[in-house]
């Protein structure tokens, strides 16, 4: 057996490790480095989160804004720009009061978003807009015949048409009536365009499927037939076309009242303590016979979260004079004369005014970040180097700190469905 040699003393000393002083120095230096790294990481993380909040506000704004733009651009589609003035609309003056009586492609309600004082405290007065048209389908359904049932009417549709085939209507299908109910929901407006181009409007009340699918219209408003009015439907109205017309309202409001669907959104947390007061951009479908812009239950859609302001302006034809080119005028959001043209069509009586003269709608939507990460406001009015606008909004009482950052997008949306509406 051979004993292993003992390592030299110098070698053993070199493997002896660190002294206490060395360890203390290294630990202290390491501690300082750790503190610096932690501070930098914390600062970087905070900066990232703040930018992410601003980015989220911008993204929410863009998504909601795009939806709003597309709906406004579609206003008046398969409808009339102004039922009160359109010479191709029959019998409007006998319709019951309500959204239908005021049927127009666009109606702007200045300061129309509901407010319990939250907006007013912050110097804001968000508008609302009601747009009408066919938002559900691009199809018109060929009519086989229209039958008067006294005050109401039954509209029989042609079965073998492109439009009916595209909703997959099959007269033998037991669910066929549901297809009809989906294409023409109860309570919505049915528009019938006869072969002379005259438009007639009624409200859907029931459906019947089978080989003779038909839609029953409510007693009011009643369809006109030629025996009553000269513009009324002629004969069996065969060859007329029918389509749905809906009224959509965009406004800013708090949806906490719909607790089952949206209640969880309004629960405050440590990083967002003011959730109960948040507002959203909401799209809702209106009941055409309601005189108070009442909505169909369950049609509320949250389009953009944390909205704080919504304003509308218009570009409209200002003067229509025989022999001269019409002139255009742009009214900025907040202009007091906007409702002279874009208000309730049924009450606008002056010449050269009315929603059918609108050629574009200027939309301005502001949303805020979820967290209020600023302690001071930006007073754009007092500093001439800062353009006027809404940059921050106070979430505390009376518009006080903390302040959340606000992002605003604005665009002019052309109304493609009424470029040539000049009728008086």
């Amino acid at each position: 057996m051979t004993a292993l040699p003992i390592p030299p003393l110098a070698l053993r000393r070199s493997r002896a490790g660190f002294t206490l002083v060395e360890l203390m120095v290294a630990l202290t230096a390491g501690l300082f480095v750790s503190i610096v790294v932690f501070a930098l990481a914390k600062q970087g993380s905070r900066f990232y989160q703040r930018e992410a909040r601003a980015a989220n506000a911008t993204l929410a704004n863009v998504i909601g804004f795009q939806r709003l733009r597309e709906d406004i651009a579609r206003a008046g589609f398969l409808s009339t720009p102004n039922a009160s003035r359109d010479p191709q609309v029959c019998g409007q003056n006998a319709w019951p009061n309500g959204a239908l009586r005021s049927l127009a492609s666009v109606r702007i309600v200045q300061g129309g978003s509901p407010d319990d004082g939250w907006f007013d405290t912050r110097g804001l007065s968000p508008d609302a807009i009601v747009i009408a048209g066919s938002f559900q389908s691009t199809d018109q359904f060929p009519v086989r015949t229209v039958v008067s049932t006294g005050a109401g009417a039954q509209v029989f549709l042609q079965v073998n048409s492109g439009a009916m085939s595209r909703i997959r209507y099959d007269s033998g299908d037991p669910d066929a009536v549901e297809l009809l109910a989906t294409a023409f929901p109860v309570g919505r407006v049915l528009r019938i365009v006869d072969t002379t181009g005259m438009q007639h409007f009624g409200v859907v009340s029931a459906h019947q499927a089978g080989p003779n699918p038909n839609i029953t219209l409510a007693d009011s408003p009643s369809l006109n037939f030629q025996g009553g009015l000269a513009c009324g439907l002629r004969g069996n109205a065969t060859g007329a076309m029918a389509n749905l017309v809906q009224f959509m309202r965009y406004e800013l409001r708090n949806l906490s009242g719909l607790a089952a669907r949206y209640g969880a959104l309004y629960t405050a947390s440590a990083d967002a303590p003011h959730e109960e007061a948040r507002r959203e951009l909401v799209r809702v479908e209106l009941d055409p016979l309601s005189t108070t812009d009442g909505a169909f239950a369950g049609t509320e859609e949250l389009v953009a979260e944390y909205a704080v302001d919504l304003k509308f302006g218009i570009t409209a034809v200002d003067q229509v004079t025989a022999g001269a080119n019409p002139t255009l005028v742009t009214l900025d959001p907040g202009d007091a004369t906007i409702e002279d043209t874009a208000g309730d069509a049924n009450t606008i009586l002056a010449a050269n005014q009315g929603p059918h003269f609108i050629r574009a709608v200027r939309v301005r939507l502001s949303t805020r970040s979820r967290e209020a990460d600023r302690e001071a406001d930006i007073n754009a009015g007092a500093d001439p180097s800062i353009s006027a606008g809404l940059y921050r909004i106070g979430l505390g009482d009376d518009n006080s700190a903390p302040f959340a950052r606000v992002r605003t997008i604005q665009a002019d949306v052309a109304l493609r469905n009424q470029p040539r509406a000049y009728f008086q």
């Binding site: 292993l4 390592p7 691009t138 199809d139 048409s161 085939s165 072969t195």
Partner: protein
């Protein structure tokens, strides 16, 4: 012979016993690193594919819009009467009227307008991939020779449901003694498609698996045209 810096025997014996553990730990670490690497490559490739799919979807939607706008321009260039007569002739089978009962109602009015048909007048709708580059739609590159494969776009527009609007035509005689004109509404269903240029034009399995298709529908008022 002994080594000057040899370790004590107990230490050597202990380390010799632990040699298997060292190999095991090294293998585990290498396996973990390999797994992380494979996962990273997989994630990167999925992100890349998702971005490519999103781009293809957007391009396809624009192809569908391109088709609708091109047909609208074509109908507005004085050819509406001819196209309308072909729609009413109902010689084409169309997807947008496929559920119309032919036995009862006959073939539904429809005419398909293909991109190639509109291009016959010398108009060029898209640049194909080739020697000058990847073409209008860009697209994938061959990983072997770095040559662009490119994307091929196409559209077909189905014109259906011709209906008289009933609106009077300004300046025409409505008394029935002069020439009679009308405005007609047609429904245009535009179907756009984008797929790699090296797939076959016919519907083979590979083309079907990588092609993107989108459809938009518009209503067009054409006229005035002679009744």
């Amino acid at each position: 012979m002994t080594r000057a810096h040899s370790l004590p025997l107990p230490v050597m014996l202990r380390r010799r016993r632990e040699r298997g553990a060292t190999v095991f730990i090294v293998v585990v670490v290498i396996s973990l690193l390999t797994g992380i690497g494979v996962y990273a490559v997989r994630v990167a490739s999925m992100v890349d594919a998702a971005a490519g799919n999103a781009r293809q979807a957007v391009q396809t939607r624009y192809m569908a819009e391109y088709g609708a706008l091109s047909v609208l321009a074509e109908l507005g260039s004085g050819t509406a009467t001819q196209y309308l007569s072909m729609v009413r002739a109902a010689t084409d089978d169309c997807r947008s009227t496929q559920f119309v009962d032919v036995d009862v109602a006959g073939r539904a009015p429809c005419y398909k307008v293909f991109m190639g048909e509109l291009a016959q007048g010398g108009r060029e709708f898209l640049n194909d991939p080739g020697d000058e580059g990847p073409g209008s739609l860009g697209g994938p590159v061959n990983l072997i020779d770095s040559e662009p494969i490119g994307l091929r776009g196409n559209f077909v527009v189905e014109l259906t449901d011709p209906v008289q609007t009933g609106a009077p035509v300004a300046g025409t005689d409505i008394g029935g003694t002069g020439p009679r004109f009308e405005y007609v509404t047609v429904t245009a269903t535009s179907i756009g498609q984008v797929l790699p240029a090296d797939t076959l034009a016919s519907c083979d399995a590979r083309a079907a698996s990588v092609a993107a298709t989108q459809q938009i529908r518009a209503r067009m008022v054409v006229g005035p045209i002679a009744r």
